[in-house]
Symmetry: C2
């Protein structure tokens, strides 16, 4: 494991020259170039990133905060982030926070202690105050979930419009009793999607019935199943369900199937995210498609810009209602 000194010595030049050769910026005679190349080969030299990073006061590492790596919604976004980061010689440190403040702190410390040059946060349960405090001195972008009126740039979709569109679709195909399976309304996206849900109902003079709005604190299949059980026990059960996540919708589908309730004839279902599994269910799932890969690329590009000190604007990407079997009567 040679270092730059030994290379310089063997090549009969100074370390500065070797450094110049390595970085390719400054001019080096082709003769010296050869000498250095030879020395590097002979010694099997590999420049240490550690040394360079300390000198340059950068880590070229980006933190990506997600609540859970197991949710396929995030994996596509991560692909986008990673591709973009790699293109700029950055690597990403995936941080599964489990929505656990303690874990979050570990990762925030990584940033404070300069092992990361920037953060992309996708955790809806992130501690806003701490995030904003960090953002005063560090580059941070929020992706998908964000903070209203905050100072942290974000990329997202129009959640209200998307929910509105989904519910309107259910109404158009003849449903009047539409349930909402929502997540915790401490999250902005949950409040926005509920707003879209209510807007559609109101527009068509349908009552907003609290009974038909189910809240879950987690986004597992079981929670979708649980929600359906609850909804079916109502004395006036809904005939359609809009869920804020495909995972919940797939759980719902499962429970409906188990009870012999026909989808979409007895119950229409719409999900959210268009995760890859949503096309493998039976029936296939109508859902809102989010441009996940693109969202990842966008978030990474914004972060890179921010780190360069450039001004960064918020971005709202397009969504799309993908109509499949679960709403095709």
């Amino acid at each position: 494991m040679a270092n730059i000194q030994q290379v310089a010595q063997k090549a009969g030049v100074s370390v500065a020259t070797v450094s110049r050769f390595l970085n390719g910026n400054a001019k080096v005679t082709s003769k010296t170039k050869l000498k250095v190349e030879d020395a590097i080969k002979e010694l099997n030299y590999e420049p240490s990133i550690l040394g360079r990073n300390l000198r340059n006061s950068e880590s070229r590492l980006l933190l990506v905060l997600i609540p859970s790596i197991s949710n396929p919604f995030y994996t596509e976004i991560i692909n986008g982030i990673e591709d973009t980061a790699l293109n700029h010689q950055y690597n990403i440190l995936l941080c599964d926070t489990d929505s656990n403040p303690e874990r979050e702190n570990i990762y925030f410390d990584l940033m404070r202690r300069k092992l990361a040059d920037g953060i992309i946060s996708m955790d809806p349960a992130v501690n806003r105050e701490k995030l904003h405090e960090l953002a005063e001195h560090h580059a941070i972008i929020q992706c998908s979930e964000y903070t209203e009126n905050g100072s942290i740039p974000y990329v997202t979709i129009d959640n209200e419009a998307a929910a509105y569109q989904a519910v309107k679709h259910l109404i158009k195909i003849g449903h009047h009793k539409i349930a909402l399976i929502n997540s915790d309304e401490t999250f902005l996206y949950a409040r926005q999607r509920r707003k879209g849900y209510e807007k559609a109902l109101t527009e068509f003079n349908l009552p907003i019935q609290e009974d038909w709005i189910y809240h879950t604190h987690q986004l597992g299949f079981e929670n979708g199943q649980q929600a359906v059980r609850k909804l079916l026990h109502l004395h006036d059960p809904p005939t359609a369900i809009f869920t804020v996540s495909d995972i919940l919708a797939i759980g719902a589908l499962k429970e409906l199937n188990a009870r012999g309730i026909q989808v979409p004839n007895d119950m229409a279902v719409i999900g959210f995210d268009k995760i890859i599994f949503s096309s493998m269910t039976n029936p296939t799932l109508t859902t809102i498609s989010q441009p996940m890969y693109k969202m990842g690329c966008t978030a990474a590009t914004m972060l890179l810009d921010k780190m360069k000190g450039q001004p960064v604007d918020n971005i709202t990407l397009d969504h799309e209602l993908v109509i499949r079997e679960s709403t095709m009567g």
Copy 2:
């Protein structure tokens, strides 16, 4: 952004004392402790990981090589790795190789250039030679997929026994015509699972029919669907299918459903991995359960040991056949 010098100055002590305080090893008087604490608070000091890493010649970063982050099989393993790593003050750098040698090289270089202290490889398509070359000077563990007769320690399951058990189950419930949807047999696990498949058939005096063995180079749903189409076109189609991955099995299920073929009555199906979605299909999927989380923890522990210079033995974890609706007639 203060450094340790400034803290020392403000506290009226030497940098060594501050360092000792930070690392908590050596003894520091409670008086000086207080002085240092105050200085740190006043200056908002955060020790730089960059400086420490260079000094200690370590990065405390672990590389995790996976072919694709989108495969839920890996996400559970990653959870195990991450939890274990975090417990030892290591962080992980997720490396989605896409089974692309170029990408792989980027990550190998990270290791050579000391930005990573160890590697856990889960990519079946990894370049064995390069991996072994790296392993001469660096700590490497293989997880799930490994190299026979190689020098790199691994943790895995007994693929042959698992496949044998699955196929035997199909035979026991009355099937004689059993297809295998396998992946590329350049991969060890694919060869091992085929061996188990053949062993079971042979044991029960059933012929091994090449027609019933389908190979796919990718592990997407579409490939499972495609395989079923092919198998159904045979003049003597099978009545049961064993696939080497739940994703393939779920694709197969989808195609069978679409064609009105009843599972398990007309066709039994078994998957592999017990990914979380395998309990959400209709019918639910019989599958081989791999202890994914545990496998991740084990791999990380082995790597940590290896990095300490301790001898590390290969480990084979237990699998389990989980019988669900897709084989319950």
